[in-house]
């Protein structure tokens, strides 16, 4: 593929995107407009993230791509292969080895370090959009720091559900100034945004916005005095690696109510299992399973999917996203068998 420029985009485009990124880093949380390009993938599949990644990559970089925490789902595999072909960079699944990590809707469980760049894919960058449809007005609200409306949304949550039911894309305030949509990460990940040693970049391709959090930025999740922010997750341990503090996916295993909970971060889970940690079903899955998991194409088996965001059944599905948060259990099986 020598016909492509390094990392697909031409140098002038990358320069334009880098300018937007620098401006975003200079003004943390501020949405910088940029001239988003058509990418060879549909909107909603990470066109913004891909452009930011392309502008950041150097030939020496090691790239990791995750989709809802997993390295082996369609979106992650296709974007990783895209950059293998157009940039020829090394790729990895290990969070610690990567220098650039493009992510859809998760922050890796393994703490990030200085020198790493985390690139988020953002469907709708404007946190006030669903409350105030006018772009002119939301810009004015950011300009004048009129963020009362954001609390109206949280008020509505409590009035309707008895608690703040917003489980993903939970609004945050950056350095006491800009209210920012952290992209549809689960609110479990919100505490990882603040004081993070890595550079965090957010790219929204369709909406043509880039924003950024420089290392060690203060990020506060909005809440009420009598309804404080809580980072929620499913009340279980990982069934494969036994982790108690990682974000879990709920996997429906049969049509008789069978289910299991597994780490959404596949690299974290695999790492723990190689170190010998075992969950409730961790050993059984390697040995002949007494609780068999049906595979794709097996006669009479129901199609089995993994539902993401196990902690929040009340929340609506992720908005404006082309790719649903589901992966087949057969993928899981191959991954769990060494």
């Amino acid at each position: 593929m020598t016909t492509y420029n390094f990392a697909y985009l031409d140098e002038q485009t990358k320069r334009m995107i880098r300018r937007a990124i620098l401006k975003g880093i200079a003004v943390p949380g501020y949405q910088v407009p940029f001239a988003s390009r058509e990418m060879p993938m549909p909107y909603g599949w990470g066109t913004g993230g891909v452009q930011v990644t392309a502008a950041c990559l150097t030939p020496e970089d090691t790239l990791k791509v995750i989709d809802q925490g997993a390295d082996d789902t369609t979106n992650a595999v296709s974007i990783r292969r895209f950059f293998q072909r157009t940039a020829g960079v090394a790729t990895t699944e290990a969070t610690t080895e990567a220098t650039v990590i493009q992510t859809r809707h998760r922050i890796p469980e393994t703490p990030l370090t200085e020198g790493q760049i985390l690139v988020y894919q953002v469907p709708i960058p404007e946190p006030l959009r669903f409350l105030e449809p006018r772009e002119t007005e939301t810009r004015k609200m950011h300009e004048l720091e009129e963020y009362g409306l954001m609390h109206v949304k949280l008020y509505e949550d409590i009035a309707r559900h008895g608690q703040i039911a917003t489980a993903y894309a939970y609004p945050v305030k950056v350095e006491g100034r800009y209210v920012m949509d952290p992209s549809p990460i689960p609110k479990f990940d919100n505490p990882k945004l603040t004081a993070n040693p890595a550079i965090q970049l957010f790219g929204a391709g369709r909406e043509q916005r880039i924003y950024a959090l420089p290392p060690y930025t203060e990020v506060v999740s909005l809440d009420f005095d009598d309804h404080p922010f809580t980072a929620s997750k499913a009340a279980h341990d990982c069934d494969l690696c036994g982790a108690r503090d990682s974000y879990l996916d709920e996997v429906i295993t049969d049509d008789a109510g069978g289910r299991m909970f597994v780490c959404s971060d596949t690299d974290f889970c695999a790492g723990r299992r190689t170190k010998g940690h075992k969950g409730r079903l961790g050993a059984d899955l390697v040995a002949p399973a007494p609780h068999p998991l049906p595979t794709r194409g097996e006669g009479g088996a129901q199609p089995v999917t993994v539902t993401h965001d196990a902690a929040a059944h009340t929340s609506p599905p992720p908005r404006g996203e082309g790719l649903g948060g589901s992966r087949l259990v057969s993928d899981l099986q191959t991954e769990s068998q060494p």
Partner: protein, 261 residues
């Protein structure tokens, strides 16, 4: 506050307008309007469609920028303020009741959220207190408390207008702008709304500037009256005096045009 202070406070005008002019290109919006509004006073502005009364109101409330003139609110120069300051004033000391409640309400947000929005905009961060105040204000505008989680789209026109009033008054403003608050309501609902408004204005000691073409409304609510025609103020004075003994030809026409039933 000592008696002396409160006496000087009432003798100072709350809003002082001098030579306010707004043009739309070569056309006149309003021309050389001057008046003083004192605390707890209700000023009515009447006139036919296109007489500039709505332009005047939106210039006063800061929704449009006047070309010439001075507006002093409580001794502060309104037109010279930064937009941040003016919008803060708009959320705290001032309130604006739109003719169409859909313009002044958030239709996708529950009644409680609508009332609470201004509180949250000025920094209230305690859910229980916000909800308590919202419930209290819904009661004051005669909306049943169990409707607090209903959206305004489920309310009748009169209820929507009362909700808009509650939403505006919750931060206890001192100056309320009203643009035809009873327009589009049927007469019995109008009468109840006027009754409610009169009670609130008296109890809270609000200063109000009310724009309307309905002379019955100003007769009931307004202490003083300004009659506008072609962007100019043609007559002003005490409401009863202007309505019972109109001096200007246009005012005479306006008063005599009211249907007697």
């Amino acid at each position: 506050m000592t008696l002396m202070q409160s006496m000087t406070a009432t003798t100072q005008p709350l809003l002082k307008v001098e030579g306010l002019t707004k043009r739309y290109g070569p056309r006149i919006g309003c021309l050389d309007v001057s008046f003083d509004l004192y605390p707890s006073e209700v000023l009515g502005i009447v006139g036919e469609s296109g007489s500039g009364k709505s332009t005047l109101l939106s210039c006063l409330a800061g929704h449009q920028r006047a070309d010439v003139g001075r507006i002093a609110y409580d001794g502060r120069d309104v037109l010279g303020m930064s937009e941040t300051e003016r919008r803060r004033l708009g959320r705290t000391d001032w309130a604006y009741v739109h003719q169409n409640p859909r313009d002044g309400l958030r239709m996708g947000v529950s009644a409680g959220g609508n009332v609470g929005e201004r509180l949250m905009a000025v920094g209230a961060r305690h859910y229980g207190e916000i909800r308590g105040k919202a419930a209290d204000w819904l009661g004051r505008v005669e909306i049943a408390e169990d409707r607090i989680d209903d959206r305004p789209s489920a309310f009748s026109g009169g209820m929507q207008q009362r909700l808009q009033i509650a939403r505006n008054l919750v931060t206890q403003p001192r100056l309320v702008f009203m643009d035809e608050p009873t327009g589009g309501l049927d007469v019995s609902v109008q009468a109840r709304l006027l009754d409610l408004l009169r009670g609130l204005v008296r109890d809270l000691g609000l200063s109000v500037i009310i724009v309307t073409h309905d002379l019955a409304v100003v007769r009931l609510l307004a202490h003083r009256l300004m009659v506008m025609k072609s962007g100019r103020v043609v007559e002003q004075g005490l409401t009863d005096q202007v309505l019972d003994d109109p001096q200007h030809a246009y005012t005479q026409l306006l008063v005599s045009s009211v249907l007697q039933v």
